[in-house]
């Protein structure tokens, strides 16, 4: 066995043992020795169930606390960990979204960019230089027609499929934890739709790299992101170039070749000069290697240096992608070499869309974090680097802390992080086991942790859908606009850090008003396409008094929370018989406050002129709009902002 082969063999063995471990831990998941220590922390079973639902789902649905109690908290959690619940209903809702099941190649074919459309239209003789020059309007129309006629979609359509499916999955998936973890890892390994260069690959990225591995093994998850076109483009590794001595790519090689064409002024010669010059200009790009250490694995204080970053970047030169697409898209990515037995022998690797271009790989020796990578390591040294990083103690701590921040509190106790990091190392990055250690720790159930997390705008919107038992969301795009307005433009966070996961980031004066307005908008039908039934939440039982209604709905919408303060503060809305008169009086006394009902918020009914004679003095619950308003206020209340 050659040295290289031996290395591969070892890697093979390691991954086999991972699999063995994982399936083993899979079996042990049903073990009855999983115990949640909530009683010790002073929580009742129902409070614990609500806490569990608040942290591991996008919010409880009506009466879900009862269901979890009935099933047993531990059993419910283990079932969520295995993520095998039937999601047929959700899948039916997603049926119309064709891109969700497509490969990168299929997406490139169905959703070509403007440049490709233009090229194709020109090739088909439907556009020419003249029609391009006639002004952008005409061009736009021609291109749109061409798109329509040939069944091509736009980036905008592609992106809205991604956004809509996230909203629908988060609301309706029976495997809530899987969706929560997919969301968590997307934010951890963030990419953005801000640019189509990587945005077009986001659907397969989320589906294949993230959701598939979200409750699996960290090293495999990391590697899947590293090899995905989305990440390779987003952090520029696809263009990072090293010099490989075997492929004539060293600097002196290129300079020699350039000199050869120096006096060749033919168009072909000039083109060649430009090409070689481009190769000379291309070089190492450290973006990915830096974020890989700082954000994806070790953490900024993980004990690496700038030298380690540079050396890791050199290890990863040649990590690119190659997506064989149809005739029209072939100019998007050029592999430079053909995928065949000869190329494999030379050290090229084509695995799915991933492509290791050994001719762009720096083949000299490197050292990362003290580990030596001898010259000529090829693709295998990259795998070794990921293994080194994924199993590093700094990574165990960094990832554990990030998970604890998401699920426990913005400042999780060190004792908890230590326990989780220990499991992370012992179980070789098994994410399920890390989560299990967390939920079995008293810190998770401590009173300091319960309802201490503030919902992100996405979590707020989805938890609203869930608690109202919204039976359909016909316009996820409108819901998404509200999420954006509340401060979270999902899939568009530009920086590789992802959205900060702390309350301070989400709560500011403007976002808070928008959060409050969101609840009011939901219940006053200002978000089109939402179907829910407030009476059904209470099993069509009519509350016997407004006070009773208030209490009933507070309990329904805020399960297992202390609602005394909320009820107390909202009661004046219901039962002051003289309120109308008082309001009228107050209004007369404040003449300076000019009448202004022409509010920008486009009331459903025109600004009412009947505001004095129609005002009965109390917001009666006979009037369902009053119920809606109270529900709107509960949704906007501070209690509902917390999870």
């Amino acid at each position: 066995m050659t040295r290289k082969l031996k290395k591969y063999f070892l890697l093979f063995i390691t991954s086999v043992s991972f699999f063995a471990l994982m399936s083993f831990s899979g079996k042990s998941l049903n073990d009855s020795d999983v115990k949640f220590p909530y009683k010790e922390a002073g929580l009742t079973e129902r409070e614990a169930a609500a806490h569990l639902l608040n942290r591991f789902t996008f919010g409880p649905t009506p009466h879900e606390v009862d269901k979890v109690v009935h099933q047993g908290l531990e059993n419910w959690f283990l079932q969520q960990l295995s993520a095998k619940n039937n999601d047929d209903e959700l899948n039916r809702m997603l049926q119309g979204y064709d891109a969700l099941t497509m490969s990168n190649a299929e997406i490139l074919k169905k959703y070509p960019g403007n440049a490709e459309i233009q090229k194709m239209a020109m090739e088909d003789g439907l556009m020419n230089k003249d029609s391009l020059a006639k002004g952008s309007q005409n061009k736009k129309k021609l291109m749109n027609d061409y798109r329509m006629d040939n069944g091509f979609g736009t980036y905008k359509q592609l992106y809205s499929q991604l956004i809509n499916q996230k909203i629908l999955r988060a609301t309706y998936s029976q495997n809530q934890l899987q969706e929560v973890m997919t969301d968590f890892w997307f934010n951890h390994f963030n990419i953005s739709l801000a640019k189509s260069k990587f945005g077009i690959f986001a659907i397969p990225y989320e589906r294949d790299a993230l959701r598939k591995n979200c409750l699996g093994n960290f090293e495999e998850l990391l590697l899947s992101t590293a090899k995905s076109p989305a990440m390779l483009q987003y952090l520029d590794n696809a263009s990072s170039t090293g010099r490989n001595s075997k492929f004539g790519g060293t600097k002196s090689d290129l300079e020699r070749r350039l000199a050869k064409y120096k006096n060749d002024n033919t168009p072909a010669g000039k083109k060649m000069q430009e090409k070689i010059q481009r190769q000379l200009n291309s070089g190492l790009n450290e973006n990915y290697a830096r974020e890989l250490m700082e954000l994806h694995t070790l953490g900024v204080d993980g004990g690496y240096t700038q030298k380690d970053v540079t050396e890791a970047a050199r290890v990863l030169t040649g990590w690119r992608f190659y997506i064989p697409t149809g005739e029209h898209s072939k100019n998007i990515i050029r592999p430079g070499v053909i995928d065949n037995a000869e190329s494999r022998r030379q050290g090229f690797v084509h695995d799915g869309d991933f492509f290791f271009a050994i001719n762009k790989h720096d083949d000299e020796a490197k050292t990362v974090l003290g580990k030596k990578f001898p010259a000529g390591g090829g693709y295998g040294e990259g795998l070794e680097l990921f293994h080194l990083l994924a199993t590093h103690p700094s990574t165990a701590k960094f990832i554990s802390k990030k998970i604890a921040i998401h699920f426990v509190s913005d400042n999780p106790p060190q004792s908890l992080i230590d326990k989780m990091a220990k499991t992370f190392l012992e179980k070789k990055g098994d994410i399920k086991q890390v989560l299990l250690t967390m939920v079995q720790s008293p810190e998770f159930w401590s009173k300091d942790a319960v309802r201490e997390k503030i919902k992100s705008p996405f979590e707020l919107a989805i938890s609203t859908m869930r608690i109202l038992n919204t039976s359909s969301i016909n316009r996820p795009d409108v819901l998404n606009r509200w999420i954006t307005k509340m401060g979270q433009r999902i899939y568009f966070y530009q920086a590789p850090t992802g959205f900060p996961d702390n309350a301070k980031y989400w709560i500011n004066t403007s976002s808070l008003l928008n959060r409050i307005n969101f609840g009011l908008a939901v219940t006053s039908n200002r978000i089109p396409g939402l179907e829910y039934d407030l009476a059904a939440l209470n099993d069509y039982k009519e509350p016997d008094s407004p006070e009773n209604a208030l209490e009933v709905y507070c309990k329904l919408l805020l399960p297992e929370r202390d609602i005394t303060s909320t009820v107390k503060r909202l009661t004046p809305l219901l039962n002051d018989p003289d309120l109308g008169k008082k309001v009228e009086k107050a209004s007369k006394e404040s003449a300076a406050n000019a009448d202004d009902d022409s509010d920008d918020q486009k009331p459903m009914t025109p600004p009412t002129k009947k505001k004095t004679d129609n005002y009965t003095g109390s917001l009666s619950f006979n009037n369902s709009s009053s119920l809606k308003q109270v529900v709107g206020i509960i949704l906007g209340s501070p209690e509902f902002q917390r999870r």
Binding site: I454, K485, T509, S565, L579, D600, R642
Partner: protein, 419 residues
Amino acid sequence: MSTRRAFLKGAGIAMFGISLGGVPTFVARAAESLKQNRLYKKKKILVCIFQRGAMDGLMAVTPFEDSFLKSARPTLFMEAGREKPLIDLDGRFGLHPAFKSFAPLFKEKQLAIVHGIGSPNNTRSHFDAQDYMESGTPFNKGTTSGWLNRAIGVMGHDASPFTAVSLTSSLPRSLYGTNEALAISNLNDFSLQVRENKFTQGLVANSFEDLYDETTSSLLKETGKESFDAMKMLQRADVKNYNPSNGAEYPKTALGKAMMQIAQLIKMDIGLEIAFAEHSGWDTHVSQGTLQGTFARSAADLSNSITAFWTDLGGDLQDDVTLMTMTEFGRTVKQNGTGGTDHGRASCNFILGNDVNGGKVHGLVKTLAIENLEDGRDQPVTTDFRAVFSEVADKHLLIRDNQILFPDWKGNAIGVMKS
């Protein structure tokens, strides 16, 4: 937190002074109308406009005697002089006629131009170049915050909810970070949206106010107070029925509206120190045009929005404000095959204010001979954007330590501000 409380205290006195006999206080508050108290000391304000898409600096401010440029742009080049379109600024540079409303400001030495400005990172990707310019770290994508957000952190004044406001639907990269910054695309949205009459709205508002006042989460409690107070401040200012001063006429465009709202915030005197707006449409690959066309349209919108804003502010307020435009890079010296220009390197920017060293085209623009071009094709970057941004922040906002705004920056100011 102590700075927040200073704000609340000021607002609180005004809010809770009056109570009507027998009426619950929240109803009284809903119905009352109060004169606004001045809550903040007068402050310096920096307004930034990001021209997204990369403005062609050579068309905006043309070195009109450059014969290389003339031959490189057969259908785009314009001449200056009598009966010629360009507005001669100094015998060498000519302003595009669509920017004509800038000419008097330049003449009055309120407006300065920096030509040859750009990033040391030679990426020609919009995304990367904007990212680098907004984070303020041209070689590091991992920087979590934006330079304007870091600026908020070192100004050290009493924080107002309106210290930093972006007139955009989501927060721009420049304002990412730990210091509070608002993204409001429309000031009218800054209210509780209750579909009933004013009274119900008042009741609902006060229910919320009480709920947030009682919560055990201190973050929700404090932010809640600020939100309701901020909302009332805007309501009292009657933002919907705003009349610009001095006959200012804003273009009816997204930028025109944004600039008008910035002027409103400034006049309300509610603690604004940094304002941000953006302007798209500068990516002129096709049919860029000369007197008409995509470039001219954008240029007219930009200059007319800015001059309307400036007129609206009027003399006194102009002393407090500096406005700066920025764009991620410039465009190729040569025009392309579709009557446009492609992604290049250096561009120019505009800086307006009374403490600006105006009436001058700053920076270095060499003759555009091939040997002077970057990569043989683009106007080279001769002034690092950080030199200009940090000088403006230093002189106008008095942020001396530019290492916080631009951690890797070690160069000098170029004299674009009066010293």
